[in-house]
Amino acid sequence: MKKYLILFSLLVGLGISATAQRSLYSVNYTVTLPTGNTADFIDVVSGRGFALEFQKFINDHVAIGGEFGHSTIFERTENEVYTRETASLSGIQYRYQYAYPIMATAAYYHSFTDLIRPYASLGIGTIANKRTIEMGMYKSEDTHWQFGFRPELGVLIQPADNVAFRVGAKYFGTLEGGGLEGQSNLSFNIGLVILNN
């Protein structure tokens, strides 16, 4: 847990103190589509999410940085019976999964000067997945820290020197760990990008 906090504060610190040339900040709204094991738990698209990114260009095309985000997916299940051995339990369940990705990222931007700048990016780090189930008057809550990665494809639309808009799609995946099987989702994001040239 401590190392994640250090990593997180490092990323936040970078974001606040970086005033050097040729860096970008972005604020993104995300829509999450659960896939795989995540979809087995909650199979509903959610618009509750955001991502904050900072990247610094090390040459004309390549930037490295960090990302912190949050998404909530939610589903209400009804008419389901949960059976373990001889015991059966039924009732309305409210399921939540809160994901907090904290990642180091590297991106390749195809063209630095054009209006349209497609890019490919890869992030590696951790995702804290917090699962909550409410059933009747009872509630279970567990947070699982997992190793995570996310490839991303997207495009920057840059109408001015300092401002651009981002449209992108990420695939978030985690490996089994922290007492939870591997999770995954597709995340579509649109965002505002501030560039320091």
């Binding site: 974001g15 900040y25 604020v27 509750r48 999410g49 955001f50 904050l52 949050h70 909530t72 939610f74 019976v81 059976t83 051995e85 001889t86 015991a87 059966s88 339990l89 039924s90 009732g91 309305i92 409210y94 939540y96 809160y98 409410e134 059933m135 009747g136 008057m137 009872y138 300092n162 401002v163 505002l192 501030i194 320091n196």
Partner: protein
């Protein structure tokens, strides 16, 4: 200027993100109802044919002690009758035939209403000794255990299905099926019968092994 936009947009986004992150949970009291069933997997329900059902539902709350009074407390008829009627209609629909408790039934259903802070509350055999054919010394649950969850103030309807012919060496009576319907003791009194009906029906429908 860019710097100002940058910093304020980050702050705004963080705040709005945190506010937006929790959708609503249960809104209505009946959404809190939970139905739990468990059974003795070595017991062959389909080989049984008759059952007996008392005409009272025992009322038990925390604090009362078995044997404090001459008789246990009973649920008022407006609550007891829907419980008994739902149990009867489900048992009949499954193919069992009702007989009186003195007619040597294969199965006996013992319903109780619990106002406690626990889903499962061990209540003493004494509560049913006035009714039960053949008598007994206590309960036991062959091969399974009822749940032990502590909760806020809630009410449960707790139905135990016993087989009077199966008594162990200590004269304890085997409970072969239990159903616990747990919910908040709130809401409109008029809805209580509907909630009882729906949740007890669910207890039977999630127990397909009871089918004859």
């Amino acid at each position: 200027m860019v710097d100002f936009i940058k910093r304020s947009s980050f702050g705004l986004l963080l705040v709005s993100g945190l506010i937006a992150c929790s959708p609503e949970g249960a809104t209505f009291v009946e959404e809190q109802d939970v139905v739990y069933t468990n059974y003795n997997k070595d017991f062959n329900f389909s080989s049984k044919s008759t059952y007996a059902l008392p005409d009272e539902v025992i009322s038990i709350s925390n604090g009362g002690l078995a044997g404090d009074t001459d008789q246990p407390e009973f649920l008022p008829p407006q609550l007891a009758n829907p419980i008994l009627a739902t149990l009867r209609s489900n048992m009949n629909a499954l193919g069992y035939r009702e007989v009186t408790e003195s007619a040597d039934p294969d199965l006996v259903l013992l319903p109780a209403a619990l106002q406690t802070t626990e889903v499962y509350y061990y209540y003493d055999w004494w509560y049913w000794s006035w009714y039960y054919p053949g008598g007994g010394a206590g309960w036991y649950y062959p091969g399974y255990y009822p749940p032990t969850v502590t909760s806020v103030r809630s009410g449960s309807i707790f139905v135990q299905m016993t087989s009077p012919k199966d008594v162990d060496s200590n004269n304890n009576i085997a409970v072969n099926w239990i159903a616990i319907v747990n919910g908040l003791l709130e809401g409109e009194p008029g809805d209580a019968a509907n909630r009882i009906d729906k949740t007890l029906d669910q207890a039977f429908s999630q127990s397909p092994y009871l089918q004859k």
